[in-house]
Amino acid sequence: MPAQRDGDPAIPRADGRVSPLRNLWRLRRYLRPYAAAYVLLLLAALAATGAGLAVPLVAQRVVDGPIARHDPAGLLRLGGLALLLGLVEAVLIFIRRWSQSSSSVGMEATIRADLYAHLQRLPAGFHDRWQSGQLLSRAISDLSVLRRFLSFGLLFLVLNVVTYVAVVVLLLRLHGPLGLLVAASAVPLFLISRRFGRHYHTASRRMQDQQGDVATLVEETAQGLRTMKAYGRGPELADRFARRARALHDTGVGKGALLARASALFDLVPNLTLGATLVGGATLVARGTLTIGELVAFVSLQLMLIWPVQSLGWIIANGQEAATAADRIHEVLDTPPSIVDAPDAVALTRPAVRGRLRFEGVSFRYPGSAEPVLREIELTVEPGETLALVGATGCGKSTLLSLVPRLYDVTGGRITLDGHDLRGVRLDALRRLVGVAFEEPTLFSMSVWENLTLGCPDATGDEVRAALALAQADFAYDLPWGLATRVGEQGLSLSGGQRQRLALARAVLGRPALLVLDDPLSALDVQTEALVEAALRRVLRDTTALLVVHRPSTVALADRVALLDGGRITAVGRHSELLATVPAYRAVLAAEPSPAPGLVRS
């Protein structure tokens, strides 16, 4: 199965033309608050390295000095110095690690919070395209890769490069020609690094995408668990999972092979350089241009290069992973939210709104699809009026409703509220004015109270009680912990009718100026439906409302009905009129079921 990344051509993918590290570099703004801490920890790390190197020097002094001179006081003094240096080294390491942990974990948390805030701003259209597993793997796995790079990879990159350069400079001063030989070994190292980095970059990106695919499938499985159980399709899903996990495994093995090859080369190059130094140095000594002592010193110093070079393998690997993680994070952060406040947007308030909703030549096409769903919709809902939208399954009724709270923006024409283009009204004001209930009641695994007051966090107990009463949802008080009861994820522990009534209560809470209800009574039993209908009728008397309905019984709630057919409004009028004069309307909403042979026995 291919990595189902996004497929949004609007997002530029990092390719050969831009530097692969560009997006990583762009994250430096998150480093800024920790700049001082970072400098401190870098200094501490360098000083600790120095202190660590000093201890053996002191030991050497002890041997050469006090012991040779039989000086117990000197021994005590130098022993004390070694102890002091050792403690200083440990304290410096402690300082480095301590400040490192707070800065890297702090940065990780900040980026994650920003990412989440941005995702909340991105419109429904974005979330339709992106699988949540891909978003999740960015917010969790990719960010922890970044954290690891910031806390180890970056630090050791700096430390090791500093060590490498310092040692090479010392070597050059010790002996020019031999030093140049060692310096020249940087060329193959550079070539190996570049090649390895490029290949690893691709593999690491593939792996992160595949991790997203696995996360997506897992989430989807948990979501569709009932369906999976109902059909007993566990084995098929396990196969599907096995394929994705296997793909991830294969990429991991490939990455491992790349890293193995590069690491082994990073081992080989300094070794061969050492061999060359030996042969060259021995020759020079034989010719008398170099003393043995100098050669020994040179070689001992050169041995110090082995670890910094050896560690290049995993530092580059870590860096490339961080780079692709940064790419993936920026793919989200770089997507501008398309539904935002216009610069001169007005904030309409509830008392100022009469509630005249007009669709003026509204067309809508889902991004990326060629066929428009809605074409040239002309429709007016007068203040206080209830308009029902009727049409065949999948004709675009729900899409039309979702344009009102601007979950999507129209692609042609405009929608006005009291003459204001919706795009000129501030989003939060608009969404405060519009109360929505979707065809599928979305509930979260939180308390009933929290689910009800999504839109009005400061609703009072009385307001909530009134809304619950209206939606005939008083059962909420009888739950084990009343309104504090956590409803299961998606409210699965409640029946369909209960969920729908909670969603309805949520929509009417806070007395919106405009109600947009998508088939609000579909899952209710006949008795409850009659009760809700009666209560709803009272609310609808003075609220402008747009309803999607399927049943003749619910149409009775509406003052007028509009028929949506083929993306256009083909008829508007009273139910009885349309029933009498429009055959298409009759076909969609005819009350009498036509007799189905063999089933009807009454």
């Binding site: 497929g7 201890v55 301590w98 999740l136 969790i140 009932r226 080989l268 020759t283 979950l407």
Partner: protein
């Protein structure tokens, strides 16, 4: 029966989560174990048990790789040997090859250089092959672990998933596995190399000078004590951070899935607030873990450096007293550093191990969870033959919570081929009857039988072939429309898939999608409305062709003509099949052979609809109401 006795509910405001400030918006779960698997408990015995189990899981995962692991360790030893030979050969070259070279004999130098080249190449080969192998082993372990956990999650009951939430499932299979991957990636390398050098150096130290080695040994109680502190503290810290990251994931996944509701209700600021809280809790717990290692690792360093200083002083004193040679002291000091440096790496490894163990504990907890609806040990086959599908509920009692029974002593016999409609108020137990028949749950008492076989004795595959439940929640899995319909019968041909869609009246809209049957349902242009999804679900059920079909509010989002089409199709399907239909629309109910009115978990009316409509009971009242509502 695996139903447990009720536990005491947690006190208000604390549902066992780190940070009580988090809990009030989440509300109080009806199940005290809502946030964890049953094996996870706060009691010390449970913690110890789970820890033991997670270590056992690790051993179990590694067992099949014993031989490759052995080879990898051998390669690692070879690599280390070659790496140590290099510097030695260089010194040998300087000492022994230079004088002959001066004398004009390049032979010894060439020999040393040759040996050096052999060592370098050996090191290259051994290192490369070791790293490749260890990556292969690590990835195989992860693959095995992922598949085990996923496979097990599939067998766990709907009840488990309802309380555990999908976010937590995702967290187990992503974030937890990731932290095990960290150990697998670099762990073995460090462990073997470090252990090797610690052991060999310890031997050398003992051999060099016994009294000095004894001083070195003084460090061990301190190392042990420090490590024990770290082990305990970090186990707790990582356990907390695993739980904290799960909460981040749960909130992230749920709120983005419901993004339309979030935006329509301007929930963003509150969500952000909650996210920042859980995210910060995660930051705090991981920071705590990192600070522990930030203390532990320099702590080891302090012990090492103090020991070096002590040995220096004591050794110097001994040399002054003539008890030891200067050379021995110098060598001892050099080796002592080699002894403590790998200790640092070991402490890193120990840290990764602690973090991975915390994750493994969570996974072991899931793997330990017993399926609430277990597969029978010896499944009984259904009697073969056409026209089967008789359903019997015998004295069935059931409740989701022990203290609130939904059904009590329900008796129901549905002969094969009958279409039964269930009606009644919300909460009466209609859906519960459906779920018991689909074996989403097992009854607390009594039996549910299909053709005389207790559902608990049927293999899952057999049961699912025979009984299909279609609900309002019509989940479409990622993939094409055709694949989603084929979910009903994986071996169905394209023609059969289309025939099912046609029969149910879904063909026209599917054909009009951008790629027809091949349209990806989760991709652009593949957006299906609730009604369309219901049609796909119906086509799926139609294709599955079960003996017993259960429809729980399955037509609620369809418009009238489509619903009629579906009903007509069902009329054909249901003619020789048993069906249990839960519907609120009497138009659906009227077409049934028999109507059951259920209230408070009991059947209060039972009979053909035409008959019940005339008896003046509840059905008759509803029927009248419905007739009136038809304008």
């Amino acid at each position: 029966m695996s139903r447990r006795p009720p536990r005491q509910h947690p006190p208000a405001g604390d549902d066992g989560q780190p940070g009580t400030a988090l809990s009030h918006w989440r509300g109080r779960a009806t199940d005290p174990d809502a946030d964890r698997s049953r094996a996870e408990d706060d009691s010390p015995e449970a913690v110890a048990r789970l820890r033991g189990r997670s270590r056992a899981l690790l051993r179990d995962l590694l067992r099949p790789h014993r031989r490759p692991l052995g080879v990898a360790v051998a390669l690692l030893l070879a690599q280390n040997a070659a790496a140590m030979a290099g510097p030695y050969l260089v010194m040998l070259g300087i000492d022994r090859a230079v004088p002959p070279l001066r004398a004009g004999d390049p032979g010894p130098l060439a020999a040393v250089a040759g040996a050096f080249a052999v060592a370098a190449v050996t090191e290259y080969v051994a290192r490369r092959s070791y790293l490749t192998r260890s990556a292969r082993i690590g990835q195989a372990v992860l693959l095995d672990l992922r598949q085990r956990v996923y496979g097990h999650l599939l067998t766990l009951s709907v009840g488990f998933h309802e309380r555990y939430t999908s976010g937590r499932v995702v967290s187990r299979l992503t974030s937890d596995v990731d932290s095990i991957a960290e150990l697998v990636d670099g762990g073995i390398d460090t462990l073997v190399a470090a252990a090797l050098s610690v052991l060999s150096v310890a031997a050398i130290l003992l051999w060099l000078d016994l009294p000095l080695a004894a001083v070195t040994l003084l460090a061990f109680p301190f190392l042990f004590w420090l490590s024990r502190w770290f082990a305990r503290a970090s186990a707790r810290a990582y356990r907390h951070s695993r739980e904290a990251v799960a909460l981040v994931i749960v909130h992230f996944v749920e709120s983005l899935r419901g993004i339309r509701a979030v935006q329509a209700f301007r929930r963003e600021p509150r969500n952000q607030q909650i996210f920042v809280t859980v995210n910060d809790e995660y930051r705090r717990t991981s920071l705590h873990g990192f600070r522990l290692i930030a203390t532990y690792s320099p702590g080891i360093k302090v012990i090492g450096n103090v020991t070096v200083a002590l040995v220096l002083g004591y050794g110097g004193w001994r040399v002054l007293g003539g008890a030891t040679e200067v050379g021995v002291l110098a060598a001892f000091l050099l080796y002592l550093r080699r002894f403590f440096e790998p200790m640092q790496e070991l402490s890193q490894f120990y840290n990764s191990l602690q973090s991975a163990t915390a994750a493994l504990e969570k996974l072991a907890g899931v793997l330990d969870e017993q399926p609430g609806v277990p597969e029978p040990a010896s499944p009984v086959p259904l009697p073969a033959g056409p026209g089967r599908g008789a359903v019997t509920f015998h004295a069935v009692s059931f409740g989701y919570l022990p203290q609130t029974p939904i059904l009590t002593g329900l008796d129901l016999v549905v002969p094969a081929g009958q279409t039964v409609a269930l009606i009644g108020p919300t909460g009466a137990g209609k859906s519960t009857v459906a779920k018991l028949l689909a074996r989403f749950h097992d009854p607390d008492a009594g039996t549910v039988e299909l053709d005389g076989v207790d559902l608990r004795d049927l293999s899952d595959a057999e049961l699912r072939r025979a009984v299909v439940l279609v609900t309002q929640e019509n989940h479409l899995f990622g993939g094409s429309v055709a694949e989603n319909i084929r979910f009903g019968r994986p071996d169905a041909t394209d023609a059969a898939v289309q025939a099912a869609a046609r029969a149910i009246g879904a063909h026209d809209f599917i054909a009009a999608l951008p790629d027809g049957y091949a349209t990806e349902v989760h991709r652009r242009g593949g957006r299906l409305s609730a009604g369309q999804r219901q049609l796909v679900a119906f086509a799926r059920a139609f294709l599955a062709d079960p003996r017993v079909l259960i429809l729980d509010e399955a037509t609620s989002s369809l418009d009238v003509p489509t619903e009629r089409l579906v009903q007509r199709a069902l009329a054909t399907v249901l003619r020789d099949r048993t069906a249990l239909v839960i519907a609120h629309r009497l138009s659906t109910v009227e077409t049934a052979d028999r109507v059951l009115v259920i209230d408070c978990g009991r059947i209060v009316e039972d009979g053909p609809p035409a008959h019940l409509a005339t008896t003046g009971g509840r059905y008759a009242a509803l029927h009248r109401q419905w007739r009136d509502s038809l304008v």
